[in-house]
Point group: C2
Chain length 491, copies 2
């Protein structure tokens, strides 16, 4: 098993054998383009001599690269860098034009699949990053330090708005994305998910229509369902996010009472709204008095350059409620999120008070310390790099093994991939077949209240890529092909 | 300042001077009845000789006892044990017979009063026990130990149902109150308050009528308000809790969709339902298919003997959802509560998932450790004793200083007192007067959707009783009298 990037030094990693080291190096050369598609690999004998490695070690390394789908053996000729296909990008989605009540089958959610199927060995379903990607030791020391320094925090209910130290740190960092949010404008929540609950509780009542991206994160759909809200799915582009034109049309008649968007690296599409679109949407919704709930939970997960701006940056009237969290970034187990609720600040603070009273102060203070001491930025850089790599491996594998008419969006951030298969393929059937072989993912229909996207799936890339992931994607490709009678013969 | 019982050994306590020691000893003799009401105290000269203390030390001790209202000087005669009045107990409440929408003025809640009035020096408003009553150092060591042993819990989302270790401990302890709850029946929540939200979300929809005790905890009323539920206040007796007869009548026509009760040491009344009544209510609501949400958050706070049974013990069909929490008992800052949801187990687990996903596992595991190692029982005994003492001092002071027609329920557990003043007195006015002098409490109308109980107040006894508390109660008594013109002349 190959671990690409781990923060913790596990004994397994230390024992990495020579052939894996060599395979990694060659893989890097292929993925970076030093060795090009179709090019012949160095002969085993030559490489063995150059590197002073045994023939069998080099042979093992080549077998490993073959397993990873990066090279192929040609009889009587040697090994060649394998052809990589570029799959097309999915088009603007076309959901139904009418709002619908939401029913999400809880048995199809990744957590339920885990509970029911004990034998899942490769899980592309859970959008939960591997514990190995987090600085647990460092955080543990900080937690101990903070709890020794402030033991009274253990018996402190804290304030519903949240710890002032953490709010100050969030405020300070908001300058980095042009937010200039004051500490007093921030309310700390139990992860981003509580914030989403509170925002919807503040601005909607049962039966109201909420405009959302399509496809949309099933967690959001489940919250809408539990509040008996109707969802209006808006066409969304995998590259540029929600269609501003469609949203403009949909919000014309006063039916829509709120709008929930993930402008930066939306889940599951991976879309990133251009700043201009963000600006237009903020203005449009403000003019029409429709609150915008902006979930920026993936905003920090850009692969390159500065993180994209939240739409909140363009909010002049307090009509945007910006949600974010440290759950996906720093300490998933701490469940510390936050919201800047603009006009609804007082209501959200009151709702936080009656929903969970407060978020454990000790954990808030520890995150504040982590932000303050600079360990955060270092960790964030590593985390972004890991996600970029994991996603890049998955993209390569899908391009290699999935049917040629598959469509795939290659995102610029986040760690989820949206895959659109031939319209004849049913991904719930595919899921059943995959589960029987220990592979899990989330079927597309779970991301739509109208149960569209039956031929789509979400693939989460949450841990270091290994041969087992490569093989799982290969197998998913085969299983997908089997649903296409004419193609099945070819596999 | 006198600290009656502290768990932590503060330097202040160690420096307790001789006169305070003597005063404490004499106070004990008075409160236990060794020195009876009306009896003459030993002369200062005699006591000084017996104890080999200076005359001035004994004099200081007697002044202290005078300050505490326990003795009084009679001119030319010496000191006498002061007459203690026994105030009457309030009667069965008589709220309006129709359900009403709920509006609770958030500005009157203790937390809001704190924010607005920075000068509160004696707070009887917050039902939050003093941090000094909790084993913070011990918990801090356990937290550090657990986080070192399981650093991966920091990056662990955990399961929505909660940590199995903690659920096992809760299950084990349920045998003590005859519950025999299995670990699998328990769901861990973000304090008792989240559990209450989830239970109501599971079994009601906006506009539904929920039957509650009257008076009822304003936090519950605020949750009803936010879910747009109507409240039907049921007559409740300060000794025996909700009137089963009234509840039977109120639930006859199918209008009531759920019932929320605090059978053990209800907040704010302090009432304790006899087991027979619990049994009758459970049977009644089951027959009528009305879910019973039982908030047992104060059940552990009995002053003597075994803790009372939750009504859940009599539940044969899963119609009772039992809520409890470690927030008020072990670690307020950890926000760890739980619910046994019976028939609604699956729904509540799902709602927990979408409301906050999970409760921080590290904190759950630490509480589990605390329960397992037995530190919990020791702490609980001390906590019960502290609460009993604090309440007993407050009861004495109210009996001494409040107008003679005041009614007061002396509870057998918990740490809140319900005080009913002459019907001419308005406790919102009283609160304004009190706040001007740095004293806070919660006015009675906050505990009723119909804003009844304008002549009542809740007094929370959350910290070691000191002269400052004694003086604050004395002052509240004076301020109350001032609202009675004919009596004001006598003060």
């Amino acid at each position: 098993m190959r671990e690409v990037h781990e923060i913790t030094d596990s004994p397994v990693q230390k024992k990495t054998t020579l052939y894996i080291q060599l395979a990694d190096e060659m893989a890097q050369a292929i993925l970076s383009g030093v060795l090009r598609v179709g090019e012949k690999m160095p002969s085993i004998r030559k490489l063995s001599g150059q590197r002073q490695l045994s023939l069998s070690t080099v042979m093992e390394a080549y077998r490993e690269l073959e397993d990873r789908g990066l090279i192929e053996a040609r009889p009587q000729s040697g090994f060649y860098v394998r052809q990589k296909r570029n799959l097309a990008t999915p088009e603007l989605t076309a959901p139904p034009k009418n709002p619908s009540h939401v029913f999400i089958d809880p048995l199809l959610t990744p957590a339920a699949l885990w509970r029911i199927n004990k034998e899942i060995s490769v899980d592309f379903g859970m959008a939960i990053l591997s514990p190995k990607l987090f600085p647990n030791q460092q955080m543990q020391r900080m937690l101990s330090q903070v709890s020794r320094q402030y033991p009274d925090l253990i018996s402190d209910y804290g304030e519903s708005q949240g710890d002032i130290e953490l709010r100050r740190q969030i405020s300070r960092r908001s300058l980095l994305w042009g937010g200039q949010v004051e500490a007093d404008e921030i309310i700390i929540t139990q992860g981003g998910i509580e914030a989403l609950n509170l925002c919807l509780r503040a601005v909607t009542k049962p039966g109201d229509v909420v405009a959302i991206e399509s496809p949309a994160y099933f967690g959001l759909l489940q919250i809408l369902e539990s509040f008996k809200l109707k969802a209006l799915e808006i066409p969304t582009h995998p590259k540029t996010g929600i269609s501003v034109e469609a949203l403009e049309f949909a919000t014309r008649n006063g039916e829509v009472k709120a709008c929930v968007l993930l402008p930066n690296f939306s889940n599951p599409l991976g879309s990133l709204m251009p700043d201009e679109n963000k600006q237009r949407v903020v203005k449009l919704l403000d003019e029409r008095n429709i609150p915008l709930i902006e979930d920026d939970i993936y905003g920090e997960f850009c692969y390159q350059g500065d993180r994209p701006k939240p739409a909140k940056v363009y909010d002049k009237t307090g009509n945007v409620m910006l949600i974010s969290s440290f759950t996906k970034i720093a300490a998933p187990g701490f469940r510390v999120g936050w919201v800047v609720a603009g006009k609804w600040h007082k209501q959200i603070e009151q709702l936080k008070f009656i929903n969970t009273y407060s978020t454990p102060v000790l954990l808030q203070r520890t995150i504040a310390k982590f932000l303050e001491t600079g360990g955060y930025d270092h960790h964030l850089r590593r985390l972004r790099k890991s996600c970029a790599e994991q996603v890049s491996y998955a993209v390569d594998a899908i391009q290699r093994y999935f049917p040629a008419d598959t469509r795939l969006n290659v995102p610029q951030g986040g760690y989820v991939l949206w895959v659109e298969l031939n319209s004849a393929i049913d991904t719930i059937t595919l899921l059943q077949d995959a589960l029987a072989e220990g592979i899990s993912f989330t079927p597309g229909s779970l991301f739509s209240p109208s149960h569209s996207y039956r031929n789509c799936l979400r693939v989460c890339c949450v841990e270091a890529w290994t041969t087992k992931h490569e093989k799982a994607i290969e197998r998913l490709g085969q299983l997908a092909r089997m649903q296409l009678p004419q193609l099945a013969l070819q596999t």
